[in-house]
Amino acid sequence: MELDDLKNKLNQQLETDHLLRSEADIAALLKKKAHSVLSKIKRSLWFEIIFCFAFTALLVYVGFASKYQSLRIYAGSFSVIMLLITGVFFFLLKRINQAGSNNLPIRENLQSIVILMDEFIRRYMQFCIALLPVCTIFSAALQMHEKETIVEIDTFLSKIRPAQSQKLLITLLYLVISFVGLYYLSKWYLKKLYGNFVDQLKGYIRELEENEKE
């Protein structure tokens, strides 16, 4: 027997295994939390936005309260950068809300999710990777122009008394290890969270497009 001969039987079978829900049951379901990947990204973006605001508030406080000029400039500059980043997160959130509705045709819906997720992953990665050298170079530049002596750093340096070449080597090693570590950690984290899912969606799009080329 073929598919067409069993249509009614299969339809019946597909309708089994469920108790019909009342309108009250459906109304209760509407209050629950969604688990789709886009909802997960939205929650993660909200978390990042709240974190950005809290961190900006801390930076503003340090900017006003610190007695060191370098720290004041550092905190002040990064509070502005954090506000810009928050703007980027809001922009991504808006795009997800606009594009992430499930009433598009299947292929279009898959494509829009993949484009959004690729963009989210790329921006997140760029942000993580850019942050380390920017912070290091900026703090080093400010440290060199600091007029006040920072007691804690001087005490630490007087204990280990490194030569100039050793200082340079330690800084370079720190930069390389942090950069490589951060790169692979971010990559692993994003792959684990979203990468495998995106690969699967791309597979479905290929399946639909392969069919089209024939």
Binding site: L6, K9, L14, D17, I26, S101, N102, N103, E108
Partner: protein
């Protein structure tokens, strides 16, 4: 809230569509319940964009299939077998139609998520034009794909029946 009431009333009338999608895409009862909840929520979120130019059932199929295809959660460990996927050793003597249906059902379960969506709409007697509107590929390609799916299902069903 009139929109919410209207949505609940419409979903209540068409909830079998969601059951069918859940049964087709999920193996365990718990996962089906979770998917039902997710589809209901996604349909409610998208309801503002439903303009009424398409049938509600077609629109709901589109939302439900999109949600099922992009739904990924870790399988729950306590899988409860339902009558739809009882292990073979627990099956007693059955009539041939029943066995054929079970074999076909098992074959459909092995299809890819995209093929399952096409079969689902085909079983509902949607035309190739209507299926193409939901899937987003041309009717000709739906026809090509459907022929291949039918051949695949026939082969799987025969293999399945040969082992029983």
């Amino acid at each position: 809230m009139p929109a919410e009431k209207e949505f609940i009333a419409l979903l209540n009338q068409h909830q079998k569509i969601i059951y069918k999608v859940c049964n087709l895409y999920m193996q365990s009862h718990t996962d089906r319940e979770d998917l039902f909840q997710e589809i209901t929520l996604q349909a409610w979120k998208a309801f503002g964009k439903f303009r009424g130019d398409a049938r509600f059932s077609t629109w709901l199929y589109r939302v439900a299939l999109n949600t099922a295809i992009t739904y990924f959660r870790k399988e729950k460990k306590n899988i409860v077998f339902t009558t739809n996927e009882l292990p073979e050793q627990s099956m007693g003597p059955q009539d041939p139609i029943e066995m054929q249906t079970k074999a076909m059902y098992a074959a459909i379960a092995n299809l890819s998520r995209i093929d399952k969506a096409i079969v689902m709409l085909y079983l509902e007697d949607y035309s190739y034009n209507e299926i193409s509107e939901v899937v987003g590929i041309t009717p000709n390609h739906i026809a090509v794909k459907m022929n291949r799916i039918k051949a695949k299902l026939k082969e799987h069903t025969q293999k399945h029946l040969a082992t029983v």
